[in-house]
């Protein structure tokens, strides 16, 4: 049974005898890589290219206009981009604040419970698996029933934040729970021996050791919140009085509802990408992830 005689040659000799042809790995990664390169990297390049042109889908002819689209987005009087960016950033801040004040305490509390924990995890996770359209349609009416949140400029964005928090609370809570599970129990035992109460345990053990999870959740929340679209599309369409006009919605309207503005929309998309990129780079510099124990 000592192996068949194979045509494939042994490739490397680091104590491993892998039997495959030199081209096999490339075959294995080819489909995934090709698709990803085409639809992510090449697409980004195309998007950049289009953003320097005036592009109309039917008339087809696109004219190079250089940075005009960007200039229009940032400085023109009829551009919604500055307002949209402001709205979106506000939404992001509120979402992060909401997640931290909601999902983290929920996870801590859920952790205290032994028996019902998995039931609660399930129930809280339900909103995350429901299509965003469904959630938006239901809340469109619920917000009307509970008051007038969607009617006023000052509260419409808050309503969207509430919707986002409701959807994501369970998912984030589960993430935090997983992070909590990784903290070794003996730390807490040691702390109790030293006479620390719950609050001190939290401050000195839980919070520092949750750092990685916190960073992860924050980053994911920010990246997701910058692209909020479905709830705006279904519930408020940018209103009232443009208070919920977010960047992803402006991009969509300009690219796919109005004809002839695809170049402009691509420029908007790139500006959004730069904004998110700046944030992520800042985050990586500030929160360099470190091994925090042993």
């Amino acid at each position: 049974m000592a192996g068949g005689q194979r045509r494939n040659k042994v490739l490397r000799k680091n104590g491993r005898s892998f039997l495959y042809a030199a081209w096999t790995p490339y075959l294995y990664i080819a489909p995934a890589l090709a698709l990803t390169v085409l639809f992510s990297l090449v697409s980004m390049a195309i998007s950049l290219y289009v953003s320097f042109h005036h592009y109309d889908a039917f008339a087809g002819k696109s004219e190079l206009i250089g940075l005009d689209n960007y200039r229009r987005a940032l400085f023109s009087q009829d551009s919604y981009f500055p307002l949209a960016l402001k709205n979106t950033t506000l939404y992001v801040f509120l979402s992060v604040a909401g997640v931290l004040t909601l999902s983290l305490p929920l996870a801590l509390l859920c952790n205290q419970i032994r028996k019902g924990q998995s039931l609660f995890r399930t129930l809280y996770f339900l909103p995350s698996i429901t299509p965003g359209v469904v959630v938006a349609l239901v809340f469109f009416h619920l917000f009307g029933v509970w008051g007038q949140l969607l009617d006023h400029r000052s509260t419409a964005l808050v309503a969207l934040v509430i919707l986002g928090l409701w959807s994501g609370a369970g998912y984030n809570m589960v993430l935090f729970l997983a992070g909590l599970n990784e903290i070794p129990g003996h730390y807490y035992d040691a702390a109790k021996v030293d006479g620390a109460n719950e609050v001190q345990q939290f401050r000195h053990i839980t919070f520092p050791l949750l750092r990685n999870t916190l960073v992860f959740v924050t980053v994911m929340t920010v990246i997701g919140a910058y692209q909020v679209f479905t709830s705006v599309y279904i519930m408020s369409q940018g209103g009232p009085e443009r208070s919920t006009e977010v960047v992803a919605y402006t991009i969509f309207i300009n690219a796919f509802a109005v004809a002839g503005q695809m170049g402009y929309a691509s420029a908007l998309a790139w500006l959004l990408f730069l904004a998110v990129l700046v944030f992520v780079i800042v985050q990586m510099k500030v929160f360099r992830s470190r091994k925090l124990y042993d």
Binding site: T24, Q227, A269
Partner: protein
């Protein structure tokens, strides 16, 4: 973990968690309740969970001979009529079928490609491996909003706009899945593969007979997440499809809503039908899903 917290804390936790759970579940109850109302009932009474004609106090009023919702015109509306109408006129069955088709095909194909690529990155050595993996990883960070327009342009060049292939093809790429699976494969001890090698197995054989059976939980988790992500797709089909016959349920629902004088109970019936499969799937497989979050490798 504070396993044995003080009991007041545990009691408080129970209370708060229960309240929160009700908050989480309430919109679903609302949705189901609204789907059984008649149009008139819904426009008059948006607040109640139970349709007025079924409420106990209305029945009591009716028995006592007072005016009640039980006597209102249309109170003999059959219970499931909204569901039947949603299928018959709203063509919800077609939307559901489309969602199911897209979700399945996308999941199967994406998983297949991801498994191949993850195994190659995890176990094989080849020139440029790190570079290529880095490229793959970097694409995970690209926001979908930026990719929407160029993907659309690429597909229109390929002539696939407004076809089901157009919906499938960009969704076949899943770098996140590759990343996850690679993490998982790296954690499988190599001795088993060595043993299989000794017996003369080629890579495909190892993959199929050794590695995959061991990764069942990760595969199921990833498969479920992919399935749910594909079911809930909204922006991309909205952009690429124009023929209503090919819409998945998410897009179909959004267009019901924009009709003038939308029939909300019927829309809610459609939403119930659209989210029920996922909920059933979720409840059946929650062990994998919820546990799988911890697999998602937050060790950056």
């Amino acid at each position: 973990m504070t396993r044995s917290g003080s009991s007041w804390l545990r009691g408080l936790s129970w209370v708060i968690m229960t309240v929160g759970a009700l908050v989480m579940v309430y919109p679903y109850l609302y949705m189901v309740g609204a789907s059984f109302k008649t149009r008139r009932e819904f426009s008059e009474d948006k607040r109640s969970l139970v349709p007025p004609r079924y409420q106990i106090q209305e029945r009591l009023k009716h028995i006592r001979g007072e005016t009640s919702a039980v006597d209102a015109p249309g109170a003999d509306w059959p219970l499931f009529k909204n569901y039947v109408d949603a299928v018959r006129y709203g063509k919800v069955d077609r939307f559901l079928g489309n969602s199911a088709l897209y979700a399945c095909v996308i999941t199967l194909v994406q998983m297949f490609f991801n498994v191949l690529a993850a195994y190659a990155f995890a176990r094989m050595d080849f020139k440029g491996k790190d570079v290529l993996f880095g490229i793959l990883l970097s694409t995970m960070m690209l926001p979908p909003a930026v990719l929407l327009i160029p993907r659309f342009l690429v597909l229109s060049r390929m002539g696939l706009v407004d076809t089901t292939w157009g919906v499938f093809i960009p969704s076949f790429s899943g770098p996140f899945g590759i990343f996850l699976l690679r993490q998982f494969f790296l954690n499988i001890p190599e001795d088993l593969e060595h043993a299989a090698r000794i017996d003369g197995c080629a890579s495909w054989g190892i993959l199929w007979n050794v590695v995959l059976p061991l990764s069942k939980s990760a595969l199921i988790t990833l498969g479920l997440f992919t399935f749910m992500g594909a079911w809930n797709m909204f922006e991309w089909p909205l952009v690429v499809l124009s023929n209503q016959d090919y819409y998945p349920l998410t897009v179909g629902l959004s267009f019901f809503q924009s009709e003038t004088r939308a029939d909300w109970p019927r829309i809610f019936a459609a939403t119930v039908m659209g989210s029920a499969p996922l909920i059933v799937l979720f409840l059946a497989a929650q062990r994998h899903l919820v546990g799988g979050i911890s697999l998602s490798g937050m060790k950056t």
